[in-house]
Each structure stands twice: as C-alpha cells, then as structure tokens.
Amino acid sequence: MALNPLANPKGVKRLCELCQKPAFIECLDCRVTYYCTKEHQGIDYRGIHKKICSLLIHLRAPAPFLNSGEDRQNRKDEMLLRQKQMIDLTRTTGQKLLFEGKHEQAVPAAMQALKFAIDVYGLSSIELVPSYLILGEASIGLGHLSHAEEYLSQAQWTVLKTPECSHDIQSRLHRNVGLLYAAKGDYPESLNQLGNDIYHSSEAFGTDDIRTSGGYFHMANVFFRLNKMKTADSLYKKVTTIWFTFLERIINVRTRTPVVPKGVGPVAEEPPMKEEVLDEAQEAEAIQVLNAIYDMREQQRATAQVMAKIAYAVTMLYTVLHDFSRANSFIYTAVKASKANPEDELSKKIAELARMLQTPYTSGIAMGMKI
C-alpha cells in the first residue's frame, strides 16, 4: 500500500529495507516491511522476504504493554530466540544462493542477517563475521571488488580483535579473502590465504572433511588459472575423493540390510545408525563443486577411471538428494566409463547403484523414503 512519509507519526521514519531511503510502499502480508520502489520490493521478496515474511511480524510488531516483570522477561527471551533463528535462516539462505550463483539475490539475505546480528550481538562482535563474509562473497560475485574489500577488511579486523576466534570462522574468512585476491588477480596472495583456510579448517574438522574440501576446490581453481595442470588435477582428485567417501557413507547407511535375527525370541533392537545430513548450503555447495569438476573433466577428456569416479560421485549426490531423474542421467555416463576396467571395485559399485536406480520402488525404499 502506498505510504506517505508525511503521514507517519511524529518521529517515526519508515525507511526502505534495501537502500534506507524514505519508503513509499509497504509489504501487504506482514505490514512491517517498507520499500522505496517496487523494484526494491521485488528484489527483496525474491531474495529473502518470501521466507521470512511471517517471521518478521512477530519481530517487528510494536511492543505490547505487559503487566508483570515476568511476562516482560519472557517476551525478551522469546524475542532473542526468534532473532537468533532469523540469523541462522538468513545466513543459510544467503550461502545457498551464493553457491547457486544468484549473487544479487544473496545480498538482501546477507544484509538481513547482518542487521539482526548487530541487533543481537552488537557492532563489533565476532558473530557478525559470517554475515560480512557472505556480503563480501556476493560483492565479488557481482564484481564490486571495492565493496567486497570493505566488507572483508571489516571481517578481518573483527577476527583480529578476537584472539580466541574459532578455527571455523578463521577458515571461512581466509577462504573469502583468498577468493577476493583471486578475483583481483593476485594469485600468490590468494594461494597464501587459501592455504591458511585449509589449515584452519583441518584444525577444526580434519583434513578430509567436506568443509575442508571447499578450500581444496578453490585452490585447484587458482592453480588451473595459473596453468599448473598437474597440481590442479591432483587437487581436484582430492576433492572428488572427499565427496566420494562422504556420499558413499550416507548411501551405505541407507541401503544397509538389517541383521536378520537368528532364532525366535526377543531381539535387541539394532541402534539406528546416525546418518550424516547435509544442510541446504552444503547441498548447494556440493552441487556446484561436483558439477564444476564433472564439466571440467568432460572438457579435458580425462581417462575412463577418472570420469567413472566423478560421474559416480555426482550420481550418488543426486540420489542422496532424492533427485532421481538427474541421477539417472549421470549413472549412464558412469556405466559407460566403467566398462574400461570392469573388474575394478569401483565398476562393481557403479553397476550396483545402476541396478538400484532402475527399479524405482526398491530404489525408493533403498534411499530411505518413508512409505
């Protein structure tokens, strides 16, 4: 609905979500979000507002008058909880959009995350760093390198001021700074930063974790651009192997046949094996990384064994994500590539997966869909 800035109550300034200019329209669903133009509303809606519209109502509603101190305290706690949930949601959405390559849409999400983080934690807290990092990465993606540098240096400064900063955050910071340098073309510096990223990530998660694999992937890209093919190749192989083992573990958990109890009588229930899950951002990352490697291998016309491995990895990824149509398209390539050495263990696994995918009913059960 149209808003007139003059009609606002005294002292109240309704500002646009994105540009902070006086707002002329509001969102009709929640009525607490304001925009200056329809374009900005469109951008925000596509970016993040669709997901958080209903949640914003609770957060931005004017404070009701509560009788007792207890009630007020409860409300405060509730608000804090909601804000934290909001931060998490916006952050993951932002990350996911980044991995999908939708940098422009990632910006509003990241800005929301930043705003809420500032509200909750204050201006110079370490918790702001991930939001800055997402903003930085989005700016790099959009090509605004100076903005990116600003955001990233703010993040760097915050990290520097916090000596007990966790390795996780440090690794992410270094990764983004490395990407920035790579975008600027300063490859040695970029390699330095990415090396730091891998080191911190290994300290936090281990050298063969999927979270470290991102660092290896970006480093491989840099070496690729520097034309050091052998190093790049070995790094890509490492990334493939990491994802391969991870996805294989998930599929094994899902397709394992339960132990048939011998004899009659009460049998202790087998404790359910915990399945490792991918959150949305990691899913998007996996899709981006594995597809990129697959395309690169196709272009390079790599050896059959290498092709088989990457195709199998992609297939596994899509089966894990329950996207069977895409899985089928990739399994075909895998089977073709594995025909080169049929006695290989890898080929046997490919054959098995192909068989499983062909029967949709069994594959459904196998892939853990509840019927």
Partner: protein, 564 residues
C-alpha cells in the same frame, strides 16, 4: 603557553632518554652513532623539533631489516602453521595432509594414554622444527615426483625419511615404521621396475615389525619378501649375499622366535611346526651356521616328542654342518645327542660308536667340558652293557676332568658314577664269594639280615656257630645255597645301583641303605679275610671285631683307596 612549554620540556627529556637507549643499542650493534639533537631555540621550537624527529624516524626506518609480508606473517603464527602454509602454497596438499595428520595422531595418542602416562614428558613433533623441516623437504620432493609419475623417486624419499627417523632416537620409531609402510604402498604403483624395490620394502617393514616384537605380522612380510626374491639370483646386497638368502635367513630367525614363544606357552605341536619351518628356510638360505642351529633345535624337539628317527636325521645334518664349519665341540655335542637317540631306539652298538666318536672329537677340539660329558655318557653305556672295567676307565676320566674344571655339580655326579661302577666291578668277586660259602647257615643268616637289616644279627659268635653248622651240612644244602646266592647277587646289583657315597648323606638317607651297604661291603671284605685265614674243616679263631664306626671308616676308605 605554560602547558606547551612543560610538555615540550618533557618531550625533550623523553627524546634525550630515548636517544640514550638508542645510543647504547647502536653501540651494541657497532653502527654509527646517532647525531645528537640540538637544544632548540624557543622561537623556532616546533618546526625544528618536527624536522628533527622526522629525520630521526626516517633514519631509524632505514636501519631496520626489510621484512616482507611472508616473513612477518611467519613470526605471528606457530611453526606448524607456517610449515603447513608453506606446503599448501606450493600446492603440495598430500605432504600437508601427512604432516598434519602425524602431528595430530601423536597428540591423540597422548590424550588417549591418559594424564599419568610418560608420553606427556616427551617433546611432541610440533615442537621439533628440525624434524618437521626434514619431513617437509622430503615429502614435498616426493609429491613433486609423484605428480610426474616418478614413483621410484617417491620411494627413495620415503626410504630416506624412514632411515632418518631410525637414527633420531627411540621415540621416533613409530615415524620410521610409518614411512616404511608408505614406501611399501608406493611400490604398489610401480609398474615399470623389476619388483626389487617391492621386495626390499617388504623386508624393511618386516624388520620394523620384528623390532616392535610383532612376530606374526613380521613373518607375513618376510614371506612376501621371500616369494618376491625367489627366482632372482641377480639381486645382491652390498656384502655380496643375494636378497633371497637374506629373506631365508630372516624368515628362519623369525620362525625360531615364534617357535620359542609357543614353547613358553606349552604348545608343543606349534613349536615343532615352526621349528620345521625355520629349518626349511635356513636350508634354502644356505647359511651354514643358521642351518646347523635350526637343525639342532629341531632335532631336540623331535627327541622330546620321542620321534627319534627324525631327530637322528636332523642331527646328522647338524653333524655335517659342524664338520663344514670345523666346530669340534658342537660336533661332539651332535654325536652325543645322536647316541642318546640311538640308545632310545635300542640301537646300542650305534650309540656306543657315536659316543666314541664324540670322545675323540672332543679330545681333538680340546673341549674339556664336552669331553667329560662324553666320557661320562660312554661310561654309563658300558655300565649298562655290563663292561664294568671300561666303564670305570671312562668314569675316572670324567671324574678327573670335572675336578680339573672345578665345577661342583659335575664333580659330585662324576664321583657318584665312579663309585657306582667301582662297586659294579667288585660285584663279580662278591658274587663269587657268596656262591662259594659252603656254610649254609651262614648264608641263611645273611639272607635274614638282608631282609630286616638288623645289627643284632651281625654278632661274631653267631658267625662262628654258622661256620660250625656248615661243617655238618651236606652238599645238597650247598646246591641250595648256590641257587640262593644267584638270587642274592641279583639283589645286590639292585642295591649297589643305588647311590653310594659317604660325602652325600642327604641323598642316601632317602634310600636308607647307606650304612647297610657299606656294612655289606665290610661283610664282604671281612669274609674275604676270613676265607684267607680259614679252611672249611678247621675251627676258626675269631679275633675281636674292631668297633663298628672305626671299622666302617677304615674299610670304606680302604675300598675307595682301592678304586683310586
């Protein structure tokens, strides 16, 4: 105004103090002395001061060493961080992974061992820059080679690292083992070489496991090594031996150790099985000493299991190897063992022959200990065969040798055996004496005494009456007596085989026949004397028997004196 003046004054003081310290530091660095700050005139104070400080600042900045960004960042972080970065920046992610995981593994081991373990006193890998740098340099070299597919170079890098960590001390054995394992892994990728490195790698891993006392796993690797080096006589080591012989020897050693373990836990079958394997490998390897030892131990095992034929077979192998090496004392041992086996099989003549050979060889080899043992065994053989004079000869030899060697236990044994056989020598005479006693009553008394071993029956007047009675008896009684004496002689043999030594009262009391036996000998000697003095028809004049204890000692020394 005042404020500024004071502050200026303070600043000048500070500046001069600074300059003093700077002067001192520069003197230490043997550089040019800083130009002193001129005391400024109040009107131009600010300008002059600014210019002066600016000059000084630029001068100072020139003096500091030029550090680039990398070196400064090196100072900010731990050495481990710096090293990992170094590796990663050049793209050597595998080296990074290995170093990182090794450091973490050590820390995890430490944590797992608990707060009380001694591992907390050891310096961990991430605090030892020297070792880490060596590791990094070799690993990056290896990775570079791996990128180009030069697996031989990769292998040599791992090998050098393993050797380096073998030399750095006890605590780094795990690193050395790890790098040997990695070297073995790389050999799996090598397709173009002749497989020699694979064999060597297996050998190294086997040796490392053997040192960690994991003998079964070590045996597995040695077997692989053996299989790989089997048909390749051209692979030689520095000292000229082929890899194949080395494999056989190592296998033999490991199997012997495993066999000993089984023996300690009492599993005899496994013990023999592994000893057999050890012998087979030693035989294949051709090292004479090892082959000899293996055959000897195997033969002893068979003997214990009463498999005498097999024992003899392997002992003959041992004998041959001893002949080849010229080890005469071991040869003597071989002959002795063969003799025991033959004896157990019942082939007495063979046994005696071998013992003779043992004696000659021991004499040749001047091994007194073996000689004494051989003589002792030979004496025992003759004792059993009934050839008591020869037995006595050999036992005297043995006794003399043992006295020369001054070994308490052997002396005692030799003495006992010597006494035994001298007793046996006298047995014939004793039998003869008993048989020729015409006096039936006397013989009867002797039997009665033997049955109850009572002192009272020994009184001389009874002896006299016995003789008197004998005069009256008939010849039929004599034949009866003869039958009885044959029984007696057998009885006596039994009693004289019991140990008789006056120096060992404790053992003899167990048998309880010490005094009676010596008394029997006294009787015997006494009878001898009596015979000399008396004819059957004449009455005998018995002289007083000397008191028993004195007589015992007198007669026993006399008897022994006869023997000596």
């Amino acid at each position: 105004m005042l404020n500024t003046k004071i502050s200026v004054g303070a600043k000048i003081v500070l500046a001069s103090a600074n300059s003093a310290t700077l002067l001192a530091r520069d003197r230490a660095r043997k550089r040019d002395v800083l130009p002193p700050i001129p005391i400024p005139v109040p009107s131009k104070l600010k300008e002059v001061r600014d210019r002066a400080s600016h000059m000084r600042r630029t001068w100072l900045r020139q003096q500091w060493p030029k550090l680039d960004k990398i070196t400064t960042s090196k100072m900010h972080t731990t050495f481990k961080n710096y090293l990992c970065l170094d590796a990663l920046q050049s793209g050597y992610h595998k080296s990074f992974t290995q170093i990182f995981n090794l450091i973490n593994y050590q820390q995890m081991l430490r944590l797992r061992a608990g707060p009380e373990s001694s591992m907390w006193n050891k310096i961990t890998l991430d605090n030892e820059p020297g070792k880490l740098m060596v590791m990094e340099s070799y690993l990056t070299q290896g990775e570079e080679a791996m990128l180009h597919g030069k697996y031989i170079e990769v292998y040599s890098c791992y090998f050098e690292l393993a050797k380096y960590f073998q030399l750095t001390g006890e605590g780094d054995k795990w690193l050395s083992d790890y790098f040997f394992d990695m070297a073995l892994d790389t050999t799996k990728h090598m397709t173009h070489d002749d497989g020699r490195l694979a064999a060597e790698a297996n050998c190294n891993v086997g040796l490392a496991l053997k040192e960690s006392m994991q003998y079964f796993e070590a045996a597995k690797y040695f077997e692989k090594f053996h299989a790989l080096s089997k048909g390749k006589p051209q692979w030689t080591m520095d000292d000229g031996k082929t890899l194949h012989t080395e494999a056989c020897n190592q296998l033999s050693l490991v199997y012997t150790i495993i066999a000993n373990k089984f023996e300690a836990s009492g599993e005899r079958e496994n013990y023999r099985y592994y000893l057999q394997l050890a012998y087979d490998s030693a035989n294949e390897g051709g090292d004479i000493r090892l082959k000899g030892l293996a055959s000897y131990v195997l033969a002893i095992a068979f003997e214990r299991n009463r498999d005498y034929e097999e024992a003899i077979k392997y002992l003959s192998v041992y004998r041959d190897t001893c002949k080849l090496t010229g080890d005469l004392s071991s040869l003597s041992v071989a002959y002795q063992c063969m003799a025991t086996s033959f004896h157990s099989l019942g082939k007495v003549q063979e046994s005696v022959n071998h013992l003779h050979l043992a004696v000659t060889v021991a004499e040749e080899g001047k091994d007194e200990r073996e000689l004494s043992k051989a003589c002792s065994s030979l004496g025992a053989m003759y004792n059993n065969l009934g050839d008591y004079t020869k037995a006595v000869d050999y036992f005297t030899k043995a006794y003399n040798l043992s006295r020369a060697l001054n070994h308490e236990a052997t002396i005692i044994l030799a003495r006992v055996f010597y006494g035994l056989t001298t007793g046996h020598v006298m047995l014939e005479a004793y039998r003869h004496h008993i048989a020729s006693v015409g006096n039936r009553a006397a013989a009867q008394r002797l039997f009665d005494w033997k049955d109850c071993r009572d002192e009272a029956l020994l009184s001389p007047d009874k002896v006299v009456s016995c003789y008197e009675a004998e005069v009256v008896s008939s010849s039929a009684a004599r034949s009866q007596v003869q039958a009885i004496t044959s029984r007696l002689s057998m009885d006596d043999e039994v009693t004289t085989t019991e140990t008789e030594s006056d120096d060992e009262p404790s053992t003899l009391n167990a048998f309880g026949h010490a005094a009676p036996i010596s008394r029997a000998r006294i009787q015997m000697a006494y009878k001898k004397r009596q015979e000399k003095a008396v004819t059957i028809s004449e009455k005998v004049e018995i002289t007083e028997l000397p008191p028993s204890s004195a007589s015992e000692s007198e007669y026993s020394t006399e008897v022994e004196g006869d023997g000596n």
